[in-house]
């Protein structure tokens, strides 16, 4: 197949983004985890769903639109699943959509390098619907590994079109769309392959199918329904009991509104034929061997293996050996852990060094504008408080956030995304699992923690990959101990201004990076301590099962990484910070300029908080900044600086030396203040967005409260102890 150009330039697919008006066809993307569904989704719709080389990246469904041959499509990206037979959350989302969402077509995205595994799900989907097109993705990886898939043979075996594609480059997508249209519009008739069942189960299914077809005329997947009824499936049983099944399946209910999302809790009316079916299923089930579920999955996999044998050919030595060699190194008993820490330190080092100058340039530029703007306002004769509020308040808050946050984020995010795309993160989870097991937590918590480096709210959502509710709660409650990008600036500022300054210039950047790594390690340490405490008190229980897929290493997609991390993530996070910072800047300006009894409000508030702050090795202004910065941690440093400088004569803090002069000279900071603040920054309560997310994810006030207050209490305790010990040992003060 000749490569077709990338799809943004391909003639017939027009990306519609989130424009979902008046769609003609509803199409779902289904498939195993990590097969490139979101990549394909992004390519078709032009949206920017997050992709990453680890299974479980997408945990909710996303929607987008595109136009092909004059028809408008609504595309739904489903979470990846291995199967539709168990009832985990992602599987339910996927299953419900394929079954009840009544899509016009389903694109099953398969990984060409693991056909047998992927066929398990594909065969199940073929039982549910016949409007299926298989996208055989990752063809580039398959070629690299010498894996040949006879896609025509596969299409014959499955009875539906199979199109080889490379979602990343857009290769084959035109053909895929054509095949999809043909299937939807009936130009291509599909003959989906049926799962061969074990004779006893087949017999039971045959008994049920006519009953189902009779009770629910028009149902096309009676066989699948019968299998599910025998297996036990609460959603389908309820639909059969109430007689809603036909309406659900044939889409008489609103097409893309999922009825199961908000199950009506009112009295259900019972449907006698449905009850008879359930009764029959009960009797048939009793006659089946207790292991019939094992046999069912076995049958599907055996069929998958048979098909694979006929259509897949592997050439030369398996390319797995490369992956294995790398795995040997990154999980090496001696090198594995140091490598991980070194990688982390390196990432910070690059960030600190790289962000230093751009930060200063930006500061000079932006504060220059502040001066100009303020003067212009004065020249226009506007009252001082308008100038002050807008330029020295709102604008300065913005300027601080941009100059402090933008450079480190623009450097750190791409590095992080690179590691994610390579497939390194699951290896970290693998290496650290033994520790998590010791504290009674789940190994995948390592994955949710690394997501937390980006944003704790995202980390909390990512915990959905942990099946055990107890361990998921632990992961949610402790996610806050990994510093999110909003807290990097605080750490980087402190590392650079205080720690690095104590070293000769040649080592300054290393020292700064080292101190940040140390702070992160403190956070990780507390993750383990608190996880242990939780699993021995509030969330008692032993460590449960852990299964983790280690995806093959993949060549990272540099262009996309730069795009998503710079344009998408950085700008997004920055934007959030900016609209938090502008009001905060205004607020601080007011507080600093409204005077009561001859002193500013900042002064009074800070003075009120000061004794408490001192106990923790901090001071009143810092605590005040944290209160103001509750909506977003990003604005802690800017708020602090504005509070200090607003209360002093220094108004321009243009570089680090000036910053240090301000903090040490005017605000009386010591090394203890810096250390306490670093600890506080890592341990304190989550921002309001994260708290809200915890509430949404747990649905419980109690856990939300614990999630918010536990870290705060720990932060108070730790800084208090450190400050007291520090002072007693007579180091400072």
């Amino acid at each position: 197949m000749t490569p077709t150009p990338g799809c943004s330039s391909c003639p017939f697919v027009q990306q519609l983004g989130i424009d979902l008006s008046e769609w003609d066809y509803l199409v779902a993307l289904a498939g195993n985890p990590n097969t490139g569904k979101s990549t394909l989704f992004n390519r078709l719709t032009g949206l920017k769903q997050h992709v990453g080389n680890w299974p479980g990246k997408t945990v909710t469904r996303a929607e987008g639109g595109f136009e092909f041959n004059g028809k408008r499509y609504k595309l739904v990206d489903l979470p990846g699943t291995y199967s539709l037979l168990s009832a985990s959350v992602e599987e339910e989302i996927a299953r419900d959509f394929i079954l009840f969402g009544n899509p016009d077509g389903v694109i099953v995205v398969m990984d060409a390098t693991a056909v047998e595994r992927n066929l398990n799900l594909t065969l199940q989907i073929l039982e549910i619907t016949d409007r299926v097109v298989v996208a055989l993705n990752l063809m580039d990886e398959a070629r690299r590994k010498g894996i040949h898939v006879n896609h025509r043979g596969l299409a014959r075996e499955l009875g539906v079109p199979v199109v080889p594609i490379v979602a990343r480059t857009g290769e084959g997508i035109g053909y895929l769309m054509q095949a999809l249209e043909d299937v939807i519009e009936g130009r291509v008739r599909t003959h989906p392959r049926r799962i061969p069942l074990d004779p006893a189960l087949e017999h039971a299914v045959r008994e049920l199918v006519p009953l189902i077809e009779q009770a629910f005329p028009g149902v096309r997947n009676a066989r699948w329904i019968a299998i599910r009824l025998l297996d036990g499936d609460p959603t389908i049983e309820r639909a059969v009991r109430t007689g809603e099944l036909s309406a659900l399946l044939t889409g008489e209910l609103p097409r893309d509104a999922l009825p199961v999302d908000e199950t009506p809790q009112e009295e259900e009316t019972l449907y006698p034929p449905g009850l008879a079916i359930l009764k029959k299923a009960d009797i048939l089930r009793a006659a089946l061997d207790e292991d019939f579920r094992d046999r069912l999955v076995e049958d599907i996999y055996n069929e998958a293996a048979r098909i694979t044998q006929r259509v897949v050919r592997v050439e030369g030595t398996p390319a797995q050996t490369w992956d294995e060699r790398i795995d040997r190194i990154v999980t090496h008993p001696v090198w594995g852990l140091p490598l991980m820490l070194l990688g982390l330190a390196l990432a910070f080092w690059v960030t600190v060094v790289g962000a230093n100058y751009p930060s200063e340039w930006l500061a000079t530029l932006l504060f220059g504008i502040e001066g100009l703007g303020a003067r212009a306002f004065q020249a226009l004769g506007l009252p001082w408080w308008v100038t002050g509020f807008l330029w020295h308040g709102v604008y300065r808050g913005l300027a601080w956030v941009v100059s402090v946050m933008l450079p480190p984020m623009a450097i750190f995010f791409p590095i992080f995304t690179l590691l994610e795309d390579l497939g390194y993160l699951p290896r970290v989870a693998f290496n650290l699992d033994w520790l998590f097991k010791k504290v009674g937590a789940h190994g995948k918590q390592a994955l949710t923690m690394t997501m937390g480096f980006g944003c704790n709210a995202a980390g909390v959502i990512a915990t959905r990959i942990i099946e055990s509710p107890r361990e998921r709660l632990i992961a949610i409650l402790t996610n806050n101990f990994v510093p999110c990008n909003g807290r990097w600036p605080t750490l980087i500022m402190l590392g650079t201004v205080f720690v690095a300054a104590a070293f000769p210039p040649a080592f300054a950047a290393f020292a700064a990076a080292g101190s940040i790594v140390a702070a992160v390690l403190v956070g990780v340490l507390f993750t383990f301590i608190v996880s242990w405490l939780l699993s021995h008190t509030l969330l008692k229980g032993e460590a449960s099962a852990f299964t983790l897929e280690l995806p093959p290493y993949r060549r990272p997609d540099i262009v996309r990484i730069l795009y998503t991390s710079l344009i998408d993530r950085t700008i997004f996070v920055l934007w959030r910070a900016v609209y938090m910072a502008a009001p905060a800047g205004g607020l601080i300006w007011i507080l600093a300029n409204v005077h009561v009894h001859g002193q500013s409000l900042v002064h009074w508030l800070a003075a009120f908080l000061d004794p408490f702050g001192r106990l923790l090795g901090l001071d009143g202004v810092i605590l005040l900044s944290y209160i103001v910065a509750l909506p977003a941690n990003e604005i802690v440093v800017p708020t602090m600086i504005m509070a200090y400088s607003g209360a002093s004569t220094v108004t321009e803090v243009e570089n680090l030396a000036a910053l240090k002069a301000l903090l040490v000279g005017q605000a009386g900071w010591t090394l203890l203040t810096a250390v306490s603040l670093m600890l506080f920054a890592v341990l304190h309560n989550p921002c309001s967005t994260t708290i809200l997310t915890i509430w949404k994810e747990t649905g419980s006030k109690k856990w939300t409260l614990i999630g918010a207050l536990l870290p705060l209490a720990i932060a108070f305790l730790v800084t208090f102890v450190v400050a007291q010990v520090w002072r007693l040992s007579g180091w400072v003060m």
Binding site: A87, R293, D294, V297, T331, R470, A545
Partner: protein, 338 residues
């Protein structure tokens, strides 16, 4: 002044909270007592014993007066009637009893299959939870669990219609020496005996052979391990004839593979149930699958390990790996499909 108002406000809020909480607590307690009584009477009738008020008082730990009040309440709600000096359940009472039993056993099954609550605690938890599950909850629960036939102790779970799976199995004390048996039921009360049975590996599904029988106890082989138990404990354990031959040595599992070694899966142990069992199957650890051990975590001393199965690397903790039985593959023929 302001501080006083503030403090009073807090005091009032706390009192309100305690009041509301206390009232709810009281209502639940009241209902639980009633339902526990129904459950007891139901159990009596099932075992063809008589429910008399004194025994009820003893069972629930109530004073005679409290018991009489309780009985009065139950009679008022038409759950019981008095037949002579005995207490009989009305049809409504029987239905409630059945529902409670169903709730109890389904919840036990749920706890054992879908959570990591230790087996010895589930009875206590189910005793609490059974009072708050509705008919509809039970239907959903039953389907989610895949219509289980027995609770984790091997007791049958009644259907909604009130049908039972007939109770089977004989006490281990009555089982002939040397004949392979499978445990189907372990009495969950008294608790200490149950805990002891657990500790010896005598759980439903375990394979047992009696090697020697003495008046004071039995010498058993339980899943390949030598065990001595007292007769009083043996009477708590019910068995049926083992469906297959009891393995002399426990089979090899994935946890026993060394690096690079390959094996063919024979099956997943019965101890793995519910969601986890399905997940393992879905990941491809089905009978006949060829598995290769590829990677051990050095830091956890070989735990977890990663296995290549059906072309993908899957990491498992030791607890799961040792429950997936396998036989070693020595021939170099059968290739692992990529």
């Amino acid at each position: 002044m302001g501080a006083h108002v503030f403090i009073w406000l807090i005091v009032v809020l706390v009192l309100l909270w305690v009041g509301k909480h206390g009232w709810e607590e009281y209502r639940i307690r009241r209902r639980s007592t009633l339902e526990d009584a129904i459950k007891y009477l139901y159990d009596c009738e099932e075992h063809h014993r008589y429910g008399v008020p004194e025994a009820l008082a003893g069972k629930l730990g109530l004073s005679t007066r409290a018991t009489l009040r309780l009985l009065h309440r139950m009679a008022q709600r038409n759950l019981i009637r008095f037949c002579g000096n005995r207490v009989c359940l009305t049809p409504a009472g029987k239905a409630l009893g059945l529902q409670l039993l169903r709730a109890h056993r389904l919840w036990e099954r749920y706890l054992s299959d879908y959570t990591d609550v230790p087996l010895r605690e589930i009875h206590r938890l189910a005793d609490k939870r059974e009072h708050t599950l509705t008919q509809e909850d039970l239907q959903t629960l039953e389907a989610t669990l895949g219509h289980p036939r027995r609770d984790p102790h091997g007791d049958p779970i009644p259907r909604e219609s009130g049908e039972w799976m007939a109770e089977v199995g004989v006490p281990l004390t009555d089982w002939p020496v040397g004949q392979p048996a499978r445990v189907v039921h372990v009495e969950d009360e008294p608790e200490d005996l149950f805990a002891q049975a657990l500790a010896e590996g005598l759980i439903p599904g375990a394979d047992v052979v009696i090697l020697e029988s003495k008046p004071e106890g039995l010498h058993l082989k339980v899943d390949g391990n030598d065990v001595w138990i007292a007769s009083i404990l043996a009477a708590q354990v019910h068995v049926i004839a083992a469906p297959a031959r009891v393995e002399e040595t426990p089979p090899m599992s994935l946890a026993d593979l060394t690096r690079g070694e390959r094996a063919r899966v024979i099956g997943i142990s019965r101890e793995i149930r519910g969601l986890l069992r399905r997940r393992l199957l879905d990941l491809g650890f089905t009978r006949g699958a060829i598995v290769q051990e590829v990677l051990e975590s050095a830091f956890g001393r070989g735990d977890p390990r990663a296995y290549r199965v059906r072309g993908t690397l899957i990491a498992l903790r030791r607890e799961q790996a040792e429950h997936i039985y396998a036989e070693p593959l020595t021939d170099e023929g059968g290739d692992v499909t990529p």
